[in-house]
């Protein structure tokens, strides 16, 4: 029984963190706000080169064959760095392609040539025969496929098959948003839910990103509390600030522990894996949203400016909070489970 990162895992996450802080600084989100793509191709390919897209993919398709725990730890860094770009869709897409018997496709995703955007079904349905309905698409620019999760399974559908995308103003300057209405589009790959619970895997990775955000805002707020002086003392001496930082720390710690628990539970096929993953999503969403909100308040006026990073954490957390499963559905789903093992 071990819930702490191994030495290898610490090295892996340090490398990922270094890549993001050097190649994908948060300020880049503001700089690129009017670009069609939230991340430039060069950086995307550099990330692929570093192996970020194939951590859990088998070696046959160019992956590293690591576990979901490793991947979750790296997605925590993606969340912490607020790295934009279709990491989530592409990593999940590669797994789908592998399990659906399309190693060629998976390989082109792992090496970064083929990007997969996320599409959330707002209305309609998806199945082995294809997709129809209304969708919200995240970061479609440059993607070859979109990943759509349905009740019965997950599909990869060609982005081109969605027809004209209507760009929308999204809340997160680091996530492009578009809307699509599709009559009928065929699925390039289909993975039935009873073969692999891809939604749970997606939730683990989203939870890990939320954990990274919760930790980042805890640290940003604490740093500010140490350095910002008002009334002759750092504001962190005030319990209104200190206790709020403490609450952020506790929520982040709970979210991290539960998310790793969920990752391992899913990976090891525990009977209560769905329980544990849903619980992870619930506590990590709360930690990130509450923490990001508190961080804005702690920064006062500065936290309300576009120039500061504080709002970017909140906005990304809001986006993640709506991915793969609405919060109320996660709660309903958790209550429907048998008690934890």
């Amino acid at each position: 029984m071990d819930l702490l990162p191994s030495r290898d895992q610490l090295e892996l996450t340090a490398a990922a963190a270094e890549f993001f802080s050097e190649q994908v600084p948060i300020a880049g989100i503001r700089a690129r706000r009017d670009e069609p793509a939230s991340l430039d191709t060069k950086t995307w390919l550099a990330g692929a080169e570093l192996g970020l897209l194939g951590l859990s993919a088998p070696e046959e398709v160019g992956g590293s064959g690591l576990g979901l725990d490793d991947e979750a730890l790296v997605f925590r860094e993606i969340g912490r760095a607020l790295a934009p770009g279709p990491f989530l869709g592409t990593v999940l897409g590669a797994r789908l392609a592998v399990l659906a018997g399309r190693p060629d496709l998976a390989a082109s995703m792992v090496d970064g040539r083929t990007a997969v955007a996320l599409a959330e079904l707002r209305d309609g349905s998806v199945g082995p025969e294809g997709l129809g309905g209304r969708l919200d698409v995240l970061d479609p620019e440059g993607s070859t496929y979109v990943l759509v999760l349905g009740e019965d399974g997950a599909a990869l559908v060609e982005t081109a098959a969605l027809g004209d995308l209507e760009p929308l103003a999204g809340i997160d300057p680091g996530t492009r948003l578009a809307s699509a209405t599709v009559g009928a589009a065929s699925a390039a790959c289909w993975l039935p839910a009873d073969q692999e619970p891809l939604r749970l895997r997606a939730l683990v990775l989203a939870s890990a990103m939320l954990v990274g955000i919760a930790e980042a805002v805890r640290d940003q707020a604490s740093d500010h509390a140490k350095n910002r002086v008002q009334f002759g003392r750092p504001i962190g001496v005030n319990q209104a600030i200190k206790h709020r930082c403490a609450d952020m720390a506790v929520a982040a710690e709970a979210a991290l522990s539960q998310t790793m628990f969920g990752a391992v539970a899913l990976q090891s096929g525990r009977a209560d894996r769905e329980f544990q993953v849903l619980a992870a999503r619930i506590v990590s969403s709360r930690a990130a949203l509450d923490g990001a909100s508190a961080n804005i308040q702690i920064h006062g006026g500065m936290g309300y400016t576009y120039e500061h990073d504080a709002h970017l954490y909140l906005k990304r957390a809001q986006v993640l909070d709506h991915l793969f499963l609405q919060r109320t559905d996660a709660l309903g789903g958790l209550l429907a489970q048998a008690a934890a093992q």
């Binding site: 999204g170 009334f231 209104a240 308040q297 006026g301 576009y306 120039e307 809001q318």
Partner: protein, 391 residues
């Protein structure tokens, strides 16, 4: 106790309502600064001509000399028209004007007050600095006396409408001594003076509501000082307590309106289960009802506060209670709306968009517990001054 307005007050409300219906600007308020300035000043001038400027201002300064109750009625009716705030005229009418009335010389009053009421000029406020937020008295923008002028160098922040203002109520440090409250001077700054540089600040909601103002050896005549050199803290404090008086009413009425609009949205928008309207969700329904109850209580508190002011004539720290309660309700309404609209929460819609935008409103709501004194500062004030807790 009663909730009945006197026949005169009822008639006053009728008059206000009729006049507003006939005179409220029909055209959209321009978003670019010059047009916005023209719009706001023009509208103020219309009010002045109609006899509605300075309802509770003393007659000697061009006001109507009526009570806070009439002022309250005006703000209620005004907010019900759905117009935005009093905006570019706010500082002049609700901060600078009242301060001048209390502390300025007759000459200063005679010059400035009529111009404010008539909509000739826009005022802005230069209090906060990057290093002096909650701790306002820590301000360090320096003013040196040179002959009959102050020479000002430094920086102010969170200044609404600095880009279109004519005058600024400016706090500067003239003496650096043992007490940070001593040595501050309150002075009227001409925003067209050489050496002033104004830069807009973009907010998390989008758009530029505030500006930074930089002063590089800006020369201000000493005769523009109000209340005496080094005595500006006392002058500024009279403004701050006025700020939390009835001027706040319009915000509240607008929040009540937002809650009602959100209830309407919840009737139409699919709820969390994707089938029933959001309002049929037990949790959302209860939170909507709670918001309704709290907004009602906010009005009741305001009424009680006005009654208290009528009796004692000195607005107390109770204004902080209103401000805090309002901010917390506004933030909860912001969050609640995000839950009402579900996955639509990913779409950014400006709160000024026709039909209202809940995501824009959500981000905007974060300013409510920061601007005008953070909720933490309000809790300090309530603890210290209302409850008498030790510091």
């Amino acid at each position: 106790m009663d909730l009945d307005f006197s026949p005169e007050q009822v008639q006053f409300r009728e008059e206000v309502r009729t006049w507003l219906t006939e005179h409220v600007p029909r055209e959209q308020r321009p978003e670019e600064p010059a047009g916005m300035r023209e719009f706001d000043l023009g509208w103020q001038r219309t009010q002045w001509e109609g006899g509605w400027a300075g309802i509770a201002w003393p007659e000697q300064y061009g006001g109507r000399g009526l009570t806070l109750v009439q002022q309250l009625i005006w703000y209620e009716e005004y907010a019900r028209t759905g117009l935005p705030g009093i905006d570019a005229n706010f500082v002049g009418l609700s901060h600078a004007g009242p301060t001048l009335m209390t502390r300025a010389t007759e000459e200063q009053k005679a010059f400035h007050l009529p111009r404010i009421l008539r909509g000739d000029v826009v005022w802005c406020q230069g209090f906060s600095e990057p290093g002096a937020g909650s701790d306002l008295a820590a301000l360090s923008t320096r003013a040196v006396i040179d002959g009959d002028e102050l020479v000002v160098t430094g920086q102010k922040i969170w200044t609404s409408f600095a880009n279109i203002a004519d005058h600024q109520e400016l706090l500067v440090r003239t003496t650096r001594g043992d007490s940070k409250h001593h040595g501050i001077t309150w002075v009227i700054c001409d925003m067209n003076s050489p050496g002033i540089d104004v830069r807009p600040i973009e907010t998390i909601e989008g758009g530029a509501e505030f500006c930074e103002v930089f002063y590089d050896e800006v020369r201000i005549p000493l005769e523009n000082v109000v209340g005496g050199v080094d005595d500006g803290w006392r002058v500024a404090m009279s403004t701050l307590s006025f700020e939390r008086g009835t001027a706040f009413t319009a915000n509240q009425v607008r929040l009540a309106d937002t809650v009602e609009k959100l209830i309407d949205t919840a009737r139409e928008h699919p709820g969390p289960d994707g089938r029933r309207p959001a309002i049929e969700d037990d949790e959302i329904a209860r939170r909507l009802a709670t918001a309704r109850a709290e907004v009602a209580a906010l009005r009741a508190m305001t009424y009680a506060g006005v009654c208290r002011n009528l009796r004692t004539d000195t607005p107390g720290p109770e204004g902080s209670m209103l401000k805090l309660y309002y901010a917390e309700v506004a933030k909860e309404v912001g969050r609640l709306a995000m839950d009402v609209i579900g996955p639509d929460a990913l779409r950014l819609v400006s709160r000024w968009a026709p039909g209202g935008g809940w995501t824009g409103n959500y981000f905007y709501s974060f300013s409510q517990s920061i601007g005008g004194g953070t909720s933490e500062i309000q809790r300090n004030i309530i603890g210290d001054r209302v409850l008498g807790l030790p510091r």
